[in-house]
């Protein structure tokens, strides 16, 4: 294993931001390679935790170096500055590094960070980006692939997660790492992690096992993996977006990952000052709860749940 410096940014009063990658060199030059990008933003833990666990796994759990076939680069954190002070984005100007790609070496600070990172990520067969959902929601682990014309759905199935969201491309997606990485020839996948603020062992293991499954099935590591799910491809039209009619205190009564029936109560909203139930949230269809609002206070018309339709 080699530690390589990806980038360094100085600060007026903080110690320098030094982003390092852990490069594990495989023994088979014909094997596919992969780069894994961890936390680009703060206020979540799983992208960081998963990437750091992976460094430990590759260092200590492959008992024979022959088992490492292709090159693996893991960059657990890009944005230490945000993580250390519980900010979500770049702390000075609140810009999102994942909206700065392909980056620009002569530009603003986060454009420069994106450029240096992007340069270090070139030439890999596969690319995994550990992300969390935008907005105030959390979800079961899934793969997000843009309908960009370059996406590799078959390979995305090798993670063995239940869902692959094959997502319509929005204008703002064109400056994301996934889209640009694909444009430059790497099969890139966004692994959307639950937006937990703490490490919950059950879900974090699920995220982690998916990556190991991918590495094994792609032949990047020689490692026996147990099969996961046969992933379902989900288009935007397969998802029921359930909004609350009322704002107030939000109490989900069904968990993410559970199957629900049409008209089943899956959550309720309580009057924030008087305590009574002012709205019951019913599932409009049979399906699987993939996503839920994560805060205790919910806004009117906010998306409370996303249910993937079944039946």
């Amino acid at each position: 294993m080699k530690k390589i410096e990806i980038l360094r940014i100085d600060s007026l009063n903080r110690s320098p931001l030094i982003v390092e990658g852990y490069l594990f060199e495989g023994c088979d030059p014909t094997a596919p390679s992969v780069a894994i990008v961890g936390a680009m933003e703060g206020t979540t833990i799983l992208p960081l935790y998963t990437a750091s666990k992976l460094v430990d796994f590759l260092k200590n759990s492959l008992d024979d170096e022959k088992k490492l076939r292709g090159n693996i680069l893991v960059i657990p954190s890009i944005n230490h500055y945000a993580l250390n002070i519980n900010e979500r984005f770049w702390p000075l100007d609140k810009t999102d590094i994942n909206m700065m790609f392909p980056g620009y070496g002569e530009g603003e600070t986060t454009q420069r960070i994106a450029k240096k990172l992007f340069d270090a990520l070139q030439g890999y067969t596969h690319g995994i980006i550990l992300e969390t959902r935008e907005g105030v929601s959390t979800c079961m682990p899934y793969i997000k692939l843009f309908e960009s014309g370059y996406e590799n759905i078959d390979a995305a199935k090798m993670f063995g997660y239940r869902l692959i969201h094959h997502k319509t491309l929005k204008p703002t997606d064109t400056v994301s790492l996934q889209y640009n990485w694909q444009l430059w020839g790497t099969s890139a996948y966004s692994l959307i992690c639950p937006s937990d603020l703490h490490v919950e062992l059950h879900t974090s293991n699920e995220v982690f096992e998916g990556i190991i499954s991918f590495l094994g099935k792609c032949g990047i590591i020689d490692y026996k993996v147990l099969s996961g799910y046969e992933s379902t491809i989900v288009k935007n039209s397969d998802v029921e977006v359930i909004q609350t009619a009322k704002s107030g205190i939000f109490i989900p009564t069904k968990k993410i990952g559970s199957y629900v029936k049409k008209d089943e109560i899956i959550g309720k909203v309580i009057h924030a000052l008087e305590g009574e139930v002012i709205h019951k949230i019913l599932s409009p269809c049979n399906g699987l709860i993939a996503c839920a609002y994560k805060n205790g206070l919910i806004l009117e018309n906010a998306v409370a749940f996303r249910v993937v339709k079944s039946g």
């Binding site: 979500r88 703002t172 704002s247 924030a272 009117e300 998306v303």
Partner: protein, 316 residues
């Protein structure tokens, strides 16, 4: 003036989020009356537009007989953000000017921008007033997407601004207010001026004259008053030079904003308070007009310090 709520949402704890429009109309309804919409506060840390809309509303109130068309005022698009010094939409941390066109089924920021776009739809002209951010100070300028410039550039020249910046189409900017409205057939101009969290009164007066001048030439107001119309520099006839900080430190200005400068003039220094040393001295790479200058002193490598517009003959 008639006030209408164009979007409202009950917040969780005893408060209603309300986005308002003020409308001035001619005393007698007129067939074919033109409609102009003036928008500000999409970014909660930008306040200059609020002042301009105040001045405009005051003028219209004092000159009711001048009104020939419909003038819609939307001073506070990100009302929650403005009252809480938050640039994006609070809770979601979303830039509202990257959330257009939105839709009714979208999350709250998306519903809000959708309601705004639907309300403004049908206007002949829209002006979206921004005031940079808390980091940079801008001279009054118009930003125009090349794609729409044939229809918007003639209007921009009437707005009494100092600079017109015509930029290429960028996909990510399709999620902005101006792109959405231009595509729906409303000629939309983006004004950038001043700096975040501040009111620059002279700029407010300057843009007020420009808006009145534009409305007069479009027949939306009729008055004997004359309004100033400066001849703006246009990026068509020159180049924009960027100066980004080469190092981290404290930026100390050596020059006044908006100054005409020569190549090699010192714009400022990056200093280190602890050691008392100057880390870098920043010189102008070209002569021209300094139309952007950093106000917020803390910088990292890459932080934008200044932008200079140099006309072609200046460069040689």
């Amino acid at each position: 003036m008639q006030t209408t709520e164009i979007f409202s949402s009950q917040l969780p704890v005893g408060e209603i989020l309300s986005i308002k429009r003020g409308r001035y109309e001619p005393k007698q309804k007129q067939a074919n009356a033109k409609r102009i919409s003036i928008v500000s506060g999409t970014h909660g840390d930008e306040l200059e537009g609020q002042y301009v809309i105040y001045l405009l509303s005051k003028w219209l109130k004092e000159n009711p007989d001048a009104i020939n068309g419909i003038i819609d005022l939307y001073p506070a698009v990100n009302a929650l953000g403005i009252d809480t010094i938050t640039r994006g939409f609070p809770i979601y941390e979303v830039d509202l000017n990257r959330a257009f066109p939105g839709n009714k089924r979208d999350f709250l920021p998306g519903q809000l921008v959708h309601a705004l776009a639907m309300d403004i739809k049908g206007s002949d002209i829209a002006i979206d007033i921004h005031s940079s951010n808390i980091f940079l100070k801008e001279i009054p300028q118009i930003r125009i997407n090349k794609e729409f410039s044939p229809s918007t550039l003639p209007l921009a020249k009437k707005l009494n601004c100092d600079f017109i910046w015509i930029h290429d189409a960028v996909t990510v900017l399709e999620a902005t207010f101006s792109h959405t409205m231009n595509q729906m057939g409303t000629k939309t101009l983006v004004v950038e001026m001043g700096v975040g969290m501040t009111l620059t009164q002279v700029y407010g007066q300057q843009l007020l004259s420009g808006i009145l001048n534009l409305m007069k030439s479009e027949g939306i107001i009729t008055t004997d008053q004359e309004f100033e119309q400066r001849e703006p520099f246009s990026s068509e006839v020159g180049d924009v030079f960027y100066i980004n900080s080469p190092s981290a430190g404290l930026f100390v200005q050596s020059i006044k904003h908006c100054a005409i400068i020569k190549k090699g003039d010192v714009i400022g220094t990056i200093v280190d308070p602890l050691s008392g040393e100057v880390r870098d001295t920043l010189e102008a790479p070209s002569g021209g007009i300094l139309f952007t200058l950093r106000e917020f002193p803390v910088v990292y490598e890459g932080s934008l310090i200044a932008r200079i517009f140099g006309e072609n003959d200046e460069k040689n």
